[in-house]
Symmetry: C2
Subunit: 467 residues, 2 copies
Amino acid sequence: MHFLKIAISIAAINILTACQTPPESGQDEQVAANLMQQAKDSTLAFEIVESLTVEVGPRMAGSPEDVKAVNWAMDKLQQLGFNRIYKEPVQVPVWHRGEAKAQVISPYPQNLVITALGGSVATPTQGITAEIVRFDSLAQLKQANPDLISNKIVFIDHATEKSIDGHGYGETVAGRSKGAIEAAKKGAVAVLIRSIGTDHDRMAHTGMMRYSDNVEKIPAAALSIPDANQLNLMLKRSPSINVKLEMSPSTLSDATSYNVIAEVTGSSLADEIVLIGAHLDSWDQGTGAIDDGAGVAIVTAAAKLILDLPQPPKRTIRVVLYAAEEIGLVGGKAYAKAHQHELAKHYIAAESDFGAGKIYQIDVNVAEVAFKPTQQWLSPMTENNIVLGNNQANGGPDVSMLPKQGVPVASLRQDGTDYFDYHHTPNDTLDKIAPKALAQNVAAYAQFAYLMAQSEINLRPIQPETK
Amino acid sequence: MHFLKIAISIAAINILTACQTPPESGQDEQVAANLMQQAKDSTLAFEIVESLTVEVGPRMAGSPEDVKAVNWAMDKLQQLGFNRIYKEPVQVPVWHRGEAKAQVISPYPQNLVITALGGSVATPTQGITAEIVRFDSLAQLKQANPDLISNKIVFIDHATEKSIDGHGYGETVAGRSKGAIEAAKKGAVAVLIRSIGTDHDRMAHTGMMRYSDNVEKIPAAALSIPDANQLNLMLKRSPSINVKLEMSPSTLSDATSYNVIAEVTGSSLADEIVLIGAHLDSWDQGTGAIDDGAGVAIVTAAAKLILDLPQPPKRTIRVVLYAAEEIGLVGGKAYAKAHQHELAKHYIAAESDFGAGKIYQIDVNVAEVAFKPTQQWLSPMTENNIVLGNNQANGGPDVSMLPKQGVPVASLRQDGTDYFDYHHTPNDTLDKIAPKALAQNVAAYAQFAYLMAQSEINLRPIQPETK
């Protein structure tokens, strides 16, 4: 009730604000239109992601390559001439992939393509050889009789649906993150999952998995999709398929990585922040082009366009290149903690972390009464083929914890139809990025950041957490 | 001149034959039409290729898996009830892939995805580390100054064009087969080629390479296409890219493999042979689904349809599943030698070895005067969306040596647009085969084999060798 009263009174102010068209609005729209055109004509973002993926390549959190990536980012942001450039230490767990081999031992001996899931323990040196027991999904595994599972290798065979918004990933990824826990609870010796991916390539998709302190830690790996199919065809022929797994991942000592930050200093509202982020770390199998070199390039190039405007924006544009997203949003959490004191001054935040497909919609999470005015204020983005969406954004992985602290966020929705074809595989390479689509993203982030920096709408208080 | 006179006199006979429409022709056409429909309704070919790829999997010539493949083929042909089933020994060289690693050492340290070319020697245990020198093509390498190449790793960067008939492969494959010889002649320590492929997957395409007795044998490997691109982007930044190669392939003792043969015994012309073939061996990276499990399935299923006819065909249909095609047409050459005495009785031969794409054209290599009558005789195939093509067929790899010995051949041209996306990579798996297209192939081979078995056209003497 208390909340509702505040909301209503703020609504009144917001409506007032929305009706008071700011004097500079026509000018802001013109600047936004120019930014869009400049972004589409610019090759800067592609040059940035090419530079990162070629000169640094893969950059697992806490690895020597991650150190190089941080140095690369500091250098690149310096070269681009941002007003303020700094890095903030983040303690990160370090995991090394090692080797992963799987072979069917009987009755149809042959190799299977697998990769370890991030955080997995190793098998004993002699490997683990056991019979396969298959489940349609994590849910089916949870319901299964432990007698069927004890001393076996659990195979979670949940296929990921392809879609523009990647919702299929949300439906299957729990098998990756929690499969080892649920399998071990019932006595399994290892877990193999059908890759959380939408391709038909013989490459396994890695990604983070978890253990529980009071459940035995068993090795966890992903099969490529053709190999998951192959295992099914074998099970159709024989109930007893025996597989040998040999995996040598290792967890090393924690290391220091960094959130790398660059700013375009605002003018009249310099202490208020429009945050656009991406993550600098990547998995090790590809070169981290779509995940998330593209995001790094998009937000950096967008901010650079604003930096080069004749007049600085009112609010400060802060580019945050997060550390260690892949292994558990470590940089995002560290940022939220380190910037606790100024989260109230974060006007809005958005992260680019869904590849390099075109943006088709912008969602926000702002005060209900501010939603329509915000949409109206962002309407120049529709010129870039972007639909004004809903008020249920989560903002992206590394900013997803900010709404709980009252920070408004936006999600610039990218076409992710092909994203899970390449995600977390060796195929995440530069050739998967279409330069035109990348430039459209830059245009969107430049317009979004600039317009938000100029806005006079009060975006707070945001709604209680939406799903 | 002598030849011409004979050709003219035979032409007269052929014209006569062509005009004498055989009494059973209407009946043959009806049988051919039924075969097409039965083939399109049948799932037998897909079942065969599924069985081979799942139960045997990869089957490198001379490997233990090759032995299994031969046993699988003998069993399968027995189950299908062919009239005569036998195998003929073929001595095959045996090569084992081992491991292959490449990493850029400086200035942009990172791993590259490579695979050894078939037949390559190993590197020393400590690897080979050297600077890269890049060439557009084998032709450019041949023209280059040896001073530029000495002690370096030659990188042949010739991109393969995508096309329905796969002609791009013919333009680039010499870099694979002869690159090591030409590079070693000029003092190179190893050779890396851009994969002979048309995909953008981070998988390297293997395939056979050669050495020359009087030229030093240097290790040879293929880079995946994204990795070849990556190397180019590095070379754009720095003239001196240093790469370390570690490869452990080995050549073992020769082994015995087998050409596996099954027949549908003919009636009135049982000693005359219509040969339809495919090769049973595969590379080891994939499961040999498109190369050449599909071909094995197509010709076997086609012959089975003819076997099940109420009346046997006039000529004998001989299915030949060749050994060791991949490593140099070893089975094809052995067959030609072992069957020297009856090559004169080979009415026509054709091999299916271009994947599982639909057949769009049939070419032949028959006597010039027999060409039009043959096309007319094969015209029921046009009902299966197949164009009657030219008289310049080579028949396919394992029968390509037969025209020199006077044997007419046919090439049933498949749509190979995607073939070189998967060819010789781990991606050569069952999911790349479209069941409907496979069935269309079976229909084509069934019609072709049956009609040729019934034909009264004299196909000989074939033309002097065409290109």
